[in-house]
């Protein structure tokens, strides 16, 4: 396998990201890098601010402070925090899925994948005018879009259900479809918000295979939030751990798993132990406790 070296170029650089909601600091001074071609996992206990980080990266929130730089393979750089919501996907080429699946339930599986190819189809239809006249330019573009959708449907094993409403699919299939839909926008960075939530072990295995395929066969890096440690440890190349909006660990799955702060954050420890660990790593965690 051609895994990139640790000093490979970063696709996403998060610099001093802070997000405040009134007095609440959801994310405090977070910096990390996601390398191109990696699967980077963002983990942490409930309420650690993982989804807030995602919402900042994908343009749903404007960060209070900080810089989010996305580097394309051609060297161009985009400051995500300055792009309007929809442009993060179209210009920044960042796609995402949602914690609570957001498919277009009343539209068919195929239509869901075509909506994701809105921008190229819109151009091909001459901003609707040429398409309205029924010119072949648009028909060719639509056929190509359907081909691409079929590729993905084959990949996620839903080709037989292409004409069924997305709302009729079982939960695991909806998760896979949402990932395929995001991939149809041809992203440089794919952000997955708890893709394995609610999946059974078999579906979880299929998901791992799908994510590996995305990493290896496409020019897409993956950033994922996940609670399911089996998924995180198995497929991620790099793990960032958040607790109370602050990064407490950053490294390979093996390193993170052994980190006492991560264990403390997940399992909880006796107060004395916390103090001992804090003394050991030279950090005072107590000041992070939310005031007011």
């Amino acid at each position: 396998m051609t895994r990139p070296s640790p000093d490979a170029e970063a696709v996403l650089t998060v610099d001093h990201l802070t997000m405040r909601f009134g007095g609440l600091v959801a994310v405090g001074d977070l910096s990390f890098k996601a390398r191109r071609g990696d699967i980077t996992a963002l983990i942490g206990p409930n309420g650690a601010g993982k989804t807030t980080v995602f919402n900042c990266i994908t343009g749903f929130y404007k960060p209070t402070e900080g810089k989010l730089t996305l580097a394309h393979a051609d060297g161009s750089k985009h400051l995500l925090e300055r792009l309007p919501n929809h442009a993060v996907n179209r210009i920044g080429r960042v796609a995402r899925t949602f914690q609570n699946i957001r498919l277009f339930q009343g539209m068919t599986v195929l239509e869901n994948l075509l909506v994701a190819q809105h921008a190229p189809l819109m151009r091909a239809s001459g901003m609707t005018v040429l398409g309205l006249l029924g010119l072949p330019v648009y028909r060719r573009a639509e056929a190509a879009a359907i081909e691409r959708a079929k590729d993905w449907l084959g990949r996620i094993d839903l080709i037989d259900r292409a004409d069924d409403p997305a709302g009729d699919l079982p939960y695991g299939a909806q998760r896979r479809l949402e990932i395929a839909r995001a991939m149809c926008t041809e992203p440089v960075l794919l952000c997955l918000d708890e893709p394995a939530a609610g999946l059974n072990p078999r579906e979880s295995g299929e998901l791992n295979a799908l994510l590996r395929h995305i990493r290896d066969a496409h020019d897409t890096s993956v950033l994922l939030i996940e609670h399911d440690m089996s998924v995180v440890m198995e497929i991620s190349d790099h793990v960032v751990v958040l607790d109370y909006g602050v990064k407490i660990a950053d490294g390979t799955p093996g390193e993170v798993r052994a980190d006492p702060r991560v264990i403390a954050a997940y399992l909880g420890v006796e107060d004395e132990e916390v103090e001992a660990v804090e003394a050991e790593v030279g950090l005072t965690v107590t000041h992070l406790e939310v005031e007011a």
């Binding site: 919501n85 957001r102 498919l103 339930q105 195929l110 075509l114 909506v115 926008t185």
Partner: protein, 462 residues
């Protein structure tokens, strides 16, 4: 088990329930029905008691409720004995269901009648002149079909609840009226201009309401409709105020006027002059406009913009995450819907020859919206059927003279129009809450296009 269920509810319980309903009816009847008020010879009020009628009404309600409960009880017992279907949602069958079959049949029936109406009316009534009532009714219905289809883009496809659609109808009507009376422009020049102006106003409305959803959007659009009407009333210098604009130039056959003179339509085509030629022409004009609206909408549905509208109705946040600019998507929906409203408006002006702000009140918006909702949001055929029912139905009441034989000479079915209208609405909402045709047809399919049950399709949040 059925016996047990029956025992649990019990006949006495049902009787009590029905008696309770009868009592309620009695309470309602006392102030409304029990006394007939007439002006006496001295100018005072004469009260004629009508206890017999009250008793009859109470008995009718009692029996109706009794029958309903008994029927429901048997149905429940039957349901309890048959196993429930495992699937929570309606199965999506490959064979067309009743709704689809009805809609296909209705489609052909509708097109057939629409194309031949003037001929049929003339043959049935003896001459064109005597068939005029039917042709006028056809024009009226088709105007609402077109308005319904136009609003369907905004409400049915994009899921944006618009309570002020009549404003665009007004903009179109006044555009034609003002341009033709002031600058002498012909109808065919004014028609696209009217659509353009209405679209501009649609965008103007669109901008402030982009961030609003649901009830808030409805209120702002409602206010917008009222603003346009009030401007039309108060800007007397331009619009003529409440007096409106009269002597608007009539429609011409692509430049040839419908007059009795040498260069009139009849003389040019070697026909004997008949004032009905103009009416028939207007009929086919609105039919063509409505069909254009329909064809354009059907095509748009299969283009990326149409899919984006429907996706917007389903989930706006997901749309933005996929790079769809929701601002322009909403604005195009508003603008296109408004443009069709504008076309219909300028047709209205050329047909009436006179327009005033009175024609563009909130009730019109409500009727158009009711047509879209009753028809089934997003369904073109459903909207057409609903328009026929909503506009044609009340007209039919005028022809129910035979009811006088049943209810006595003083009975005028016309007075009950709104009552029946309301009853029909309530009945629809009980039995088909998602409209006549609630299924959604996919815009694209790999295999056979199968309708999507209304249970899945979102109605939009704003």
């Amino acid at each position: 088990m059925a016996a047990a269920t029956r025992g649990a509810v019990g006949l006495p319980g049902i009787l009590k329930d029905a008696a309770f309903y009868a009592l309620g009816t009695f309470a309602l009847c006392v102030p409304v029905v029990a006394f007939r008020t007439d002006a006496g010879p001295t100018g005072g009020l004469e009260l004629t008691p009508r206890w017999g009628l009250v008793l009859a009404l109470c008995a009718a309600i009692f029996l109706a409720r009794l029958a309903q409960r008994l029927i429901l009880m048997r149905r429940d017992a039957r349901r309890a004995l048959t196993p429930a279907r495992s699937q929570a949602t309606e199965a999506v069958g490959a064979t067309p269901n009743a709704g689809q079959r009805v809609s296909m049949l209705a489609l052909w029936l509708f097109i057939g009648i629409a194309l031949t109406l003037p001929v049929v009316a003339a043959l049935a009534s003896g001459s064109l002149g005597e068939g005029r009532y039917w042709i006028d009714l056809g024009i009226l219905i088709l105007t609402y079909v077109m308005l319904g289809w136009g609003l369907n883009i905004v409400v049915g496809l994009a899921g944006l609840l618009d309570l002020g659609y009549v404003a665009f109808y007004a903009v179109g009507a006044y555009s034609y009226a003002l341009l033709s009376t002031t600058f002498g422009l012909s109808f065919w020049v004014c028609l696209p201009l009217a659509g353009l102006f209405a679209a501009l106003w649609g965008m103007l409305l669109g901008f402030p309401v982009l961030r609003l959803r649901g009830d808030y959007l409805a209120i702002v659009t409602l206010a917008f409709g009222e603003i346009i009407r009030l401007v039309l009333i108060n800007w007397v210098d331009v619009t003529g105020g409440g007096a409106g604009i009269s002597s608007i130039p009539r429609a011409t056959f692509f430049g040839i006027p419908f007059t009795a003179g040498e260069d009139g339509f009849a003389a040019r085509f070697g026909l004997t002059f008949d004032s009905m030629h103009r009416v028939v022409f207007l009929y086919y004009l609105i039919l063509a406009l409505a069909l254009i609206t329909n064809v354009v909408t059907l095509r748009l549905r299969r283009l990326p913009i149409g899919r984006a509208w429907e996706a917007l109705r389903e989930d706006e946040i997901a749309c933005r995450s996929l790079g769809i600019n929701t601002t322009t998507t909403k604005l195009t929906a508003f603008a296109l819907g408004a443009a069709f409203g504008g076309f219909a408006g300028s047709f209205f002006a050329v047909r009436q020859g006179f327009i005033s702000p009175e024609s563009f009140n909130f009730l019109e918006s409500a009727i158009i919206l009711a047509i879209v909702v009753l028809g089934g949001m997003g369904s073109q055929v459903g909207v057409a059927i609903a328009a026929v029912a909503m506009v044609g139905g009340p007209e039919m009441l005028r022809n129910l003279g035979f009811l006088k034989a049943v209810f006595g000479q003083g009975f005028d079915p016309n007075e009950y129009r709104l009552l029946l209208f309301g009853l029909a609405m309530v009945a629809m909402m009980v039995w088909r809450p998602r409209g006549l045709i609630s299924e959604r047809t996919p815009s694209v399919a790999l295999g056979e296009r199968r309708a999507i049950s209304g249970a899945h399709v979102s109605e939009g949040h704003g």
